[in-house]
């Protein structure tokens, strides 16, 4: 039985945004529940995929795991230690264990540093290395992510989207972490390099026993690389289970819509619920005023089909994440 490396319990992260200039008088602050009561665990050697709509809080979860932003409530237990309670200094040893591949490739690299210094820095944070060793390690890293040596003396602004992405991956690998939050590591890459990155992540997992939290919009890759998948909607996990089951036997209406809207599938697949993408009903959700009760109700085809049952609107009866067997959890009153 593999050890649990990371356990997240009832994690909450609310962003508080000052409203307009009159807020002090009104006393009203806009609260964005970016992550609202999320629990999951990841074992050693395991990959958990995290998918969901843009802006549903995936990156925010990743950032809290690295203690890059304070949590509002909840516990994050890494290696049997609650890291939310640690001071930054006490957390320092954990920085070696947990790393992140950042989503925003333009912003995560210091624009004034050459690629060589960026990689060198990552290599030397936790280890003392001689120049020769650094050169060798950089060479190895470049080989792993398939980046040309001649790009080492460039500044990030001079690289193409995919090249920046690979620098980001190389930097995260340089530290030698055991747990990697990979925030869309394959976006902006061509399919061949995408394949290389996926293979690399798989290899590292096999050889070094890494665990990943794999955030991505590419559902095929998520299904391929993850052991289990969590689907998020509006700051909450709405469905969680084994990758294959989430993809092929989804129980939550949102999951079903998500997978059926894969561009390649669209033409042939018939799903249990119709997405009705032609109609303009698929509005953007409003974080400030989430629907009471089930948050997905305003868009939910099942809710429509069942004639808008009141249970979906009742705040006190908001659906809970319930186990429906085989480590499969759904947050819905009427699972498919």
């Amino acid at each position: 039985m593999a050890k649990t490396i990371l356990e997240v319990e009832n994690l909450k992260k609310y962003y508080i945004q000052p409203g307009g200039i009159f807020t002090p008088f009104k006393g009203a602050k806009r609260i964005i529940p970016a992550v609202d009561d999320v629990s999951f665990y990841i074992k050693e050697n395991e990959t958990m995929g995290l998918v969901g709509e843009t802006g549903c809080g995936k990156t925010t979860i990743g950032r809290t795991l690295l203690k890059l932003t304070p949590v509002t409530a909840g516990r994050i237990i890494f290696d049997e230690k609650d890291i939310t309670q640690l001071t930054p200094h006490e957390f320092l040893p954990f920085r070696r264990q947990v790393q992140m591949i950042f989503q925003d490739l333009d912003a995560a690299l210091n624009p004034k540093m050459r690629i060589r210094s960026i990689l060198k820095e990552a290599l030397t944070v936790h280890h003392r290395l001689s120049d020769a060793e650094i050169n060798r390690e950089i060479g190895e890293l470049l080989e792993k992510v398939n980046l040309k040596k001649s790009k080492l003396s460039n500044f990030p602004g001079e690289l193409s989207g995919g090249e920046k992405r690979r620098v980001g991956i190389a930097r995260a690998l340089a530290v030698g972490a055991r747990f990697l939050v990979a925030d869309e590591p394959t976006s902006a890459l061509d399919v061949s390099i995408q394949a290389q990155v996926v293979n690399l992540l798989k290899d590292l997992q096999k050889n070094l026993g890494l665990s990943y939290l794999f955030i991505s919009h590419d559902l095929r890759i998520v299904e391929l690389i993850s052991h289990k998948v969590a689907v998020m909607y509006l700051g909450q996990i709405v469905e969680m289970g084994m990758a294959g089951r989430i993809a092929h036997e989804p129980r939550h209406p949102y999951t079903s819509i998500l997978w059926s809207s894969l561009v390649e599938k669209k033409s042939r697949e018939t799903t249990k619920v119709s997405t009705d993408s032609k109609k303009g009903t698929w509005g953007v959700f409003d974080f400030e005023r989430p629907h009471t009760g089930c948050r997905f109700a305003p868009r939910c085809p099942v809710y429509e089909a069942k004639g808008k049952p009141s249970i979906c609107n009742e705040p006190s009866k908001a659906p809970q994440l319930q186990d429906i067997g085989d480590a499969h959890k759904v947050r819905c009153h009427f699972p498919l």
Binding site: N146, A188, I221, L262, V263, W282, V284
Partner: protein
């Protein structure tokens, strides 16, 4: 009515000069492309193969001081027929000795002025671009509605503000932003990524351009919104008939939307033809790179077995030291003994295989 392609790119070369390496970075190195009216050209290719730089060259956005553009970009629409690179050569002087570039002189101010003169009334009006990162490309301090209205008043015949506003709302509705009247007054940062992307598309379309360049319009969006944007672009193609240059890594999106596909590698086009031929694995005359690229897409079997994906072996191309001969020959798996010598020493041309299918490979020279 004009005949012929809306945009013709002939032998476009965009080089950056790296002083520290004393060498040219040949980001775009001899690209030939054509886009017919009302059609969509999809561009796929290796990351770093110069897709974005090609698009930027068309938009006249290469201004980084040591950048050099040579070649022809001809835009021929109803109102304008022009070579967009007219006269740019006059602003660059290159000193060579013994085959090496020793120095580049560039009159930056003149270059920029010339570009601005050429692109005046073209950028935004005839060609508009959907950038990959909408939040960066929109002004964060102005509401999306007024940005679109401004663009309409600047670029179309509608000069009346209230009419322009009506038109802006129409476009917001067209891109399926719900309650457009409400969203009209939103700042870009008040929108989620997908919304902002759509607002950006609305803005690009609102000037009713002859040519739309979309650089990875769907990256970073989740599957539902991706399919929405794909639907939108497809719908626009059938109703409005915009000519589009679509750059994407998502082969499925390209397959769904394009009529023609160009496959780029190392700054040049390796294959150019109808989408259904180029992107179908079974097609007979296929460039080895395209074949390898298609093989890297995860298929049902990979997913089911959670196996390794098939990646193209070998290193990505170095844009400074581009190999002589065929650019792809270091990594090519279809190379045969018969053509080995040619592959290593001579670069093949983009050869017509059938009516409108061109391939740059020695394999298809003998037949």
């Amino acid at each position: 009515m004009i005949k012929g392609p809306v945009l013709t790119i002939e032998n476009l070369r965009t080089y950056f000069y790296s002083k520290s390496k004393q060498a040219f970075i040949r980001s775009v190195d001899g690209v030939n492309l054509e886009i017919d009216k009302g059609k969509t050209l999809g561009i796929v290719g290796e990351s770093g193969s110069g897709k974005s730089i090609t698009a930027m060259s068309v938009m006249g956005l290469i201004s980084a001081p040591p950048g050099v553009i040579i070649g022809k970009i001809r835009l021929s629409t109803e109102s304008i027929q022009k070579n967009l690179l007219q006269g740019l050569k006059d602003y660059v002087r290159i000193n060579m000795s013994t085959g090496r570039i020793m120095e580049i002189y560039k009159d930056n101010v003149g270059w920029q002025k010339n570009i601005d003169r050429i692109m005046y009334k073209i950028r935004g009006r005839e060609i508009s671009m959907i950038f990959q990162n909408p939040k960066i490309s929109m002004n964060p301090f102005i509401t999306i509605g007024s940005q679109i209205t401004e663009s309409i008043m600047l670029n179309t015949t509608i000069k009346n503000r209230s009419k322009a506003k009506e038109r802006a709302l129409y476009w917001l509705e067209q891109v399926k932003i719900d309650s457009p009247r409400l969203r009209y007054n939103n700042n870009p940062h008040g929108l989620s990524g997908g919304m902002c992307q759509r607002a950006m598309i609305a803005m690009a379309l609102s000037s009713e351009p002859s040519l739309l360049i979309a650089d990875e319009p769907t990256t970073g969006l989740d599957a539902t919104i991706q399919s929405k944007i794909v639907n939108l672009l497809a719908e626009l193609k059938s109703t409005v008939g915009v000519t589009t240059m679509l750059i994407s890594h998502d082969i499925n999106v390209i397959r769904e939307l394009s009529d023609q596909v160009a496959v780029m590698y190392g700054g040049t086009v390796l294959e150019h033809g109808p989408a259904k031929d180029v992107l179908s694995a079974g097609y007979e005359y296929k460039h080895p790179y395209t074949a390898a690229l298609l093989a890297s897409i995860p298929n049902e079997q990979h997913i089911r077995e959670k196996g390794y994906l098939q990646a193209i072996k070998g290193d990505v191309l170095d844009t400074i030291n581009i190999p002589g001969g065929c650019r792809f020959h270091d990594r090519c798996e279809m190379i045969t003994n018969k053509i080995k010598e040619r592959c290593e020493n001579h670069e093949p041309d983009l050869k017509d295989i059938s009516a409108n299918h061109k391939v740059r490979c020695w394999l298809y020279y003998d037949s």
